[in-house]
C-alpha cells in the first residue's frame, strides 16, 4: 500500500515534469508556424472569444487557416452588433524599407477587410489604415517580435 503510494507519487512527479518539459518545448515551436505568429501574447479581444488580430508571414499578406478562423469570428460578432464600425490597422515588421512597408500594411489590412466582407459585413463599416512599421507592438529586435508585429488589428471605431 505504502509502496504503491510511493510509486504513484513518483509517477505523478515524473508525469508532471514530462508535462512541463512538453509545455516548454511546445511553447517554442508553436509561437510561429511557417513564419506566422500563432501565440496569443499580444492578442486582445473585441468580445469574448473574438480575437482582434491576425498575423502574416514576412512580406506576405496571405491569410492562414487560423487567421480566417479569427476573421470569421469577427464577422459573426459584427453581424450580431450591427451598429459597430471598425478600423483595420495594417502593420509590418521593421525589417523592410519604410515605403514598401506602408504599402504592405495597406495590403494586409485589405486582406482582412475583404475576408470580413465575404462573410457578410458591409464594406461601409470597415475603414483601413496602414501604419507600415511605425507602430510595433513588440519593440524588441527578434524574430518573435517581428512575427508579432506583422499583423492586422481590427479596432472598434465607435
Amino acid at each position: 500500500m505504502r509502496f504503491n503510494k510511493a510509486i504513484k507519487n513518483l509517477f505523478i512527479v515524473l508525469f508532471s515534469t514530462l508535462l512541463i518539459s512538453a509545455c516548454s518545448t511546445a511553447k517554442k515551436s508553436v509561437d510561429t508556424v511557417d513564419d506566422v505568429y500563432t501565440g496569443t501574447e499580444t492578442v486582445k479581444y473585441l468580445a469574448k472569444g473574438v480575437p482582434d488580430r491576425v498575423f502574416f508571414a514576412t512580406n506576405k499578406s496571405k491569410l492562414t487557416t487560423a487567421s480566417r478562423d479569427t476573421l470569421r469570428k469577427q464577422a459573426t460578432w459584427m453581424r450580431k452588433n450591427k451598429n459597430v464600425t471598425v478600423t483595420i490597422e495594417g502593420h509590418a515588421d521593421e525589417r523592410g524599407t519604410r515605403e514598401y512597408n506602408l504599402a504592405l500594411g495597406e495590403r494586409r489590412a485589405n486582406a482582412a477587410k475583404d475576408y470580413l466582407m465575404t462573410y457578410g459585413v458591409s464594406g461601409k463599416r470597415i475603414a483601413v489604415i496602414s501604419y507600415g512599421k511605425e507602430r510595433p507592438v513588440n519593440p524588441a529586435n527578434s524574430p518573435l517580435a517581428w512575427s508579432q508585429n506583422r499583423r492586422s488589428v481590427t479596432v472598434k471605431a465607435n
Partner: protein, 445 residues
C-alpha cells in the same frame, strides 16, 4: 577588377582636368587628402559691433566651419592653426609661399571681412602654394546673420576649384526627428544645415510624419503626414510654413518625390490593397496614373532629364527595382541579384541609381548604373535604408538603426553619409534621433 576600374577612371579624370595647378581627385577615396591651411579671416578693425556675436571672433569662426567642411569630405587635411606662420591680414595680401610650404601645406585659404552699414562684406582667396599662384579670388556681401552660410559658400567655391565638381556645403537637410520609445515614437519634420547647425522643427509632433523630400528648385518640401489619421502626401513651404494636401485621393498617398524641374510630385496611391504610382502637376493639378499593376509599386524617382522613372515593385513576387519611361511604358526590371532591392533614387548626375538592398537579414546601401549593371555595395549594417544624393552626386546620406534588446532598449536611428567611392563613411550630428534624410540643392548657385 573593381580596383582596376577605379584606377582607370582616375586616369581619365585627371587627364580631363589637367589644370597644371593642384587638383583634388574625388573619384577615388581619401587615400591622400590634400594638406590645406585655412587662415582665420582677417576682421577689419573698422567693422561695426553687432549684438549677435563678437565681431573680432567671426573671422576665426568662419575659418573653423570651412575646415570642418573640408575635413568632412575626406579629401582634404586641414592643418593645425598653431603652426601658421603669417598673420591673416598679411597672408591675405600675398602669402610668403615658401614659409607655408615649410609646414607642408599645398593650398592656403585667406580672407577678410568687414561689417559696414549692417552688411557683411567677405573677400577670400585660394592660393596654390606649390605653384605660388592665386587660384580663386572672390568677394560678396550678405547680411551678418548669414555668417555660417558665408563659410559654406567659401567652402563650395574652393571645393569646385580644386575638384572640378560643384560643391555641396551651402545646402540643407530635411529629415524626421525621432524621440520617445520605439513603440510610441514621436516624429517631427526637421531641417538643418548640411553640417548639423541651425536645426529647425517644422511640425510639433502631434501626428506621425515621414519621408520629407526637397524640391530641387526651391524651398518646398513634400512629405507624408498622418494628420487626422489620414495618411496623405503634403506640400510644405519652409519659408512661409503654409502647407496643403497634394491631390484629392480617397485613400493613402505616400512615397512622394519631386520631378527634377520641381513642377510635379510623383507618389504612390494605395487603394483596396494595391499601390500604384501617380504623378500630379503642381500648376494645373492634373493627376496621372503611371503604373497599373496589382502588385505594390512604390518609391518612385525621376531621372534628372525627367524622361524615366525608377521604382520598386514586388510584381515578380519579391521587391525589386524597375525602370520605365515617365509615361509608364517600357517597364523593365533592372535588379536580378540575390536579395531584395528597394528605395531607388536617381543620381542628379544621371549616371547612377542608389538603392537599399536586403540580403540574409543584412541591409546594404549601394549604387548601380541605370540599367542595373555595375552594382557596388558601399556599406552593410543591421538596418539602414533611404539614400539621398548630395546635389553633386558624389555623396549619399541615409539613416541607420541600431539593434535593441529584448525590451526595445538601446534602439537608435542616426543619419550617416558615405562617398560613392565607398570611403569616408561618417555619422551626421543631429539634436535628436533622425531618419529619412533628404539633401537640398545648393542654396546659392
Amino acid at each position: 577588377m573593381k580596383k582596376i576600374l577605379l584606377i582607370l577612371s582616375l586616369f581619365l579624370f585627371s587627364y580631363k582636368n589637367a589644370y597644371g595647378l593642384i587638383t583634388v581627385d574625388i573619384t577615388r577615396g581619401n587615400l591622400d587628402p590634400l594638406p590645406i591651411a585655412v587662415s582665420p579671416l582677417h576682421v577689419d578693425p573698422k567693422s561695426e559691433k553687432l549684438s549677435i556675436f563678437e565681431t573680432v571672433k567671426l573671422g576665426g569662426e568662419i575659418s573653423k566651419i570651412v575646415e570642418r567642411n573640408f575635413k568632412s569630405t575626406g579629401l582634404f587635411n586641414p592643418l593645425k592653426k598653431d603652426a601658421f606662420v603669417q598673420k591673416p591680414d598679411i597672408a591675405h595680401l600675398k602669402p610668403r609661399f615658401e614659409d607655408w610650404r615649410l609646414i607642408k601645406a599645398q593650398a592656403l585659404v585667406t580672407g577678410k571681412i568687414l561689417i559696414k552699414d549692417k552688411k557683411l562684406k567677405v573677400e577670400f582667396r585660394l592660393w596654390d602654394l606649390t605653384a605660388a599662384k592665386e587660384m580663386v579670388a572672390l568677394s560678396f556681401t550678405t547680411t551678418p546673420n548669414n555668417w555660417r552660410r558665408v563659410a559654406h559658400i567659401i567652402s563650395d567655391k574652393i571645393y569646385e576649384r580644386l575638384t572640378g565638381e560643384s560643391g555641396y556645403f551651402d545646402t540643407r537637410i530635411a529629415y524626421v526627428s525621432e524621440t520617445g520609445p520605439k513603440n510610441q515614437r514621436i516624429k517631427k519634420l526637421a531641417i538643418m544645415d548640411q553640417d548639423g547647425f541651425n536645426t529647425k522643427y517644422l511640425t510639433l509632433g502631434n501626428e506621425l510624419v515621414l519621408t520629407p523630400r526637397f524640391n530641387p528648385t526651391n524651398q518646398l518640401v513634400t512629405y507624408l503626414s498622418y494628420f487626422k489619421n489620414m495618411p496623405r502626401v503634403y506640400l510644405l513651404d519652409i519659408e512661409t510654413g503654409i502647407q496643403e494636401v497634394v491631390g484629392a485621393f480617397p485613400g493613402m498617398t505616400f512615397a512622394p518625390r519631386f520631378s527634377p524641374d520641381g513642377k510635379k510630385i510623383i507618389m504612390s496611391f494605395a487603394k483596396d490593397g494595391n499601390s500604384d504610382i501617380y504623378s500630379m502637376d503642381l500648376e494645373n493639378r492634373v493627376v496621372e496614373q503611371i503604373t497599373k499593376h496589382p502588385s505594390i509599386d512604390t518609391s518612385p524617382s525621376y531621372s534628372p532629364d525627367g524622361k524615366y522613372i525608377t521604382f520598386n515593385s514586388d510584381r515578380s513576387g519579391l521587391q525589386q527595382i524597375y525602370v520605365m519611361r515617365s509615361d509608364g511604358t517600357q517597364v523593365k526590371r533592372i535588379t536580378h541579384g540575390a536579395g531584395l532591392y528597394g528605395t531607388p533614387v536617381w543620381s542628379p548626375r544621371g549616371d547612377l541609381i542608389a538603392f537599399t538592398k536586403v540580403r540574409k537579414g543584412r541591409f546594404y546601401i549601394g549604387v548601380m548604373r541605370s540599367d542595373g549593371s555595375g552594382e557596388r555595395l558601399l556599406t552593410e549594417n543591421f538596418y539602414q535604408e533611404a539614400p539621398s544624393w548630395s546635389p553633386n552626386g558624389r555623396v549619399l546620406i541615409f539613416y541607420r538603426e541600431t539593434k535593441s534588446d529584448s525590451k526595445g532598449k538601446g534602439f537608435s536611428a542616426k543619419l550617416w553619409s558615405i562617398d560613392i567611392t565607398g570611403y569616408n563613411e561618417r555619422r551626421l550630428k543631429t539634436e535628436t534621433d533622425a531618419s529619412d534624410p533628404s539633401w537640398s540643392s545648393l542654396l546659392s548657385k
